[in-house]
């Protein structure tokens, strides 16, 4: 049986404003599998993820994936303001906003999906806590829950193990495994080669000839 492809990148040149950052990238992630992107900082891992999200330009070649609303994204933790007055539960609910649309109020099904996602990352009891008071690992798990609340077919995680304690790393890896069993395709970037093998079905190294 042929594998169902969740993401296929063919001979893509990727960059910003006509300046190429990555050239000739070809890769393929079937549903239910995990691709780990490795490479030093600045090798273009984030750029590749952004190109899949449509936030970086595809200058040549092609990227074929699910529709935007079926793609989940877990950004790098250090891009977020820890003083922001928002609770962990609210952050997870953001993962539903696109589904809710503009006019409908946030419904019970949305709250339930958010609560379930937070429960799956083991933080059900922290929903009311301000996002910024959580530890780095817990915050990362909240962002993972947010992406899961949107029920994505393809989930992109940018350096999810950065600044994450051992407990949270174990929790994150367990959830990622559950997701792939359920058929979600994952793309995980990490600069830490030691962490690459654990979740990976395949590894793509950037910045090497």
């Amino acid at each position: 049986m042929a594998e169902v492809s969740a993401l296929r990148i063919s001979y893509a040149t990727i960059g910003y404003h006509h300046t190429a950052v990555l050239r000739d990238v070809s890769l393929h992630v079937p549903a239910g599998q995990t691709l780990v992107l490795t490479g030093a900082n600045g090798s273009g891992k984030s750029t590749l993820i952004k190109a899949v999200l449509g936030l970086a330009d595809v200058l040549a070649g092609s990227i074929d994936g699910p529709a935007r609303r079926e793609i989940g994204y877990v950004p790098q933790l250090d891009t977020l303001d820890a003083d922001f007055p928002v609770s962990a539960g609210q952050v997870v609910l953001m993962g539903r906003y696109r589904r809710i649309g503009w006019w409908r109020p946030t419904g019970r099904a949305d709250r339930r999906a958010a609560a379930e996602a937070l429960d799956r990352v083991g933080l059900a009891d922290r929903a009311g806590d301000r996002f910024g008071v959580l530890s780095g690992g817990q915050r990362q798990r909240v962002l993972l829950a947010r992406a899961m609340a949107g029920e994505p077919r393809l989930l992109l995680l940018d350096e999810p193990f950065n600044g994450v304690d051992a407990d949270s790393r174990v929790a994150i890896l367990a959830v990622l495994r559950e997701l792939t069993v359920a058929g979600t395709a994952l793309v995980v970037s990490t600069h830490d080669l030691a962490l690459a093998d654990e979740p990976a079905d395949r590894v793509y190294r950037l910045g090497e000839p």
Binding site: Y73, L80, M94, Y97
Partner: protein
């Protein structure tokens, strides 16, 4: 003694006007706070000023509203475009534009014989001469602002907290920024005749800043911001009434309101230390 002054119609209307402004000021200031738009809000109050003056010269008091509206919307658009290109970090050039606009307003108004009193009215408002018609206008504008805010609130929150994530989720950040800037402009327009272009900045910044000192919940911040503004409006009016009627001291009511509002912020400041 505490409600007696508000039996006088113009005092009641002033309080009603402030209640409407408090209603929008609470929630809008929360988004100004989390999006760090204080500078944008400040910019708006400065650029609305020449609009107010031109409107007044062209069409009297009705013209003030139209002039403020046009200037506010144009500024919202220009500021959105400037921030998109990242040019707003260039404080100097923006400040030049702001002062230029402000000076233009002063130059225009100085051509009038009633220069001083007009200038005072534009800068600090005429809270005690709010007419029933103006009150109705403010009510309509407040309703529109709250509706536009309610529809966009979730997206504004997402964008403020995590612009990258919001963009990845398919929200158009530029459009959201324009939308929020227009809302801030509309608050300035709604408030400008009553409290003036300078004091309106307090309504856009202090409510949420004060509420943040005692709460880190956004809804609570909005409600508290409104409550604090209304309380300051009531107390400020009462103080200025008592000062002028009871003691013969002239105290502009709008400035009394803003001073009370800032005093509340200062009282709450120690509470913020543990948050």
């Amino acid at each position: 003694m505490l409600i007696e002054p508000f039996r006088v119609p113009f005092m009641a209307r002033a309080l009603a006007e402030l209640a409407l402004l408090a209603l929008v000021g609470g929630p809008v200031s929360v988004f100004v706070f989390v999006r760090r738009l204080s500078f944008v809000a400040d910019a708006l109050t400065h650029t609305v000023f020449p609009g107010v003056v031109v409107g007044f010269l062209a069409g009297g008091l009705t013209g003030v509203f139209v002039g403020a509206l046009v200037a506010g919307l144009v500024t919202a658009l220009v500021l959105t475009l400037l921030t998109r290109r990242g040019a707003l970090s260039d404080d100097a050039s923006t400040a030049v534009v702001l002062t230029a606009m402000f000076a233009l307003g002063v130059a225009l108004v100085s051509r009038r014989p009633s220069y001083t009193s007009d200038l005072t009215a534009f800068l600090f408002g005429r809270l005690l001469t709010v007419t029933p018609g103006q009150l109705a206008q403010t009510a309509v504008l407040a309703g529109a602002i709250l509706m536009l805010l309610a529809v966009g609130a979730r997206a504004f929150l997402f964008r403020a907290f995590d612009p990258g994530g919001a963009t990845a989720a398919g929200f158009r950040v530029g459009a959201l920024d324009l939308w929020l800037n227009v809302l801030v402009a509309l608050v300035v327009v709604a408030a400008v005749r009553a409290v003036g272009t300078v004091l309106v900045i307090a309504l856009l910044i202090v409510p949420a800043a004060a509420a943040r000192l005692v709460s880190d919940r956004l809804v609570a911040m909005a409600v508290l911001g409104t409550a604090v503004t209304f309380a300051a409006g009531y107390l400020g009016l009462l103080i200025s009434w008592t000062a002028s009627v009871g003691h013969g001291i002239q105290l502009t009511s709008a400035s009394a309101v803003v001073l009370v509002l800032v005093a509340v912020y200062l009282v709450l400041l120690p509470a913020g230390r543990n948050r």
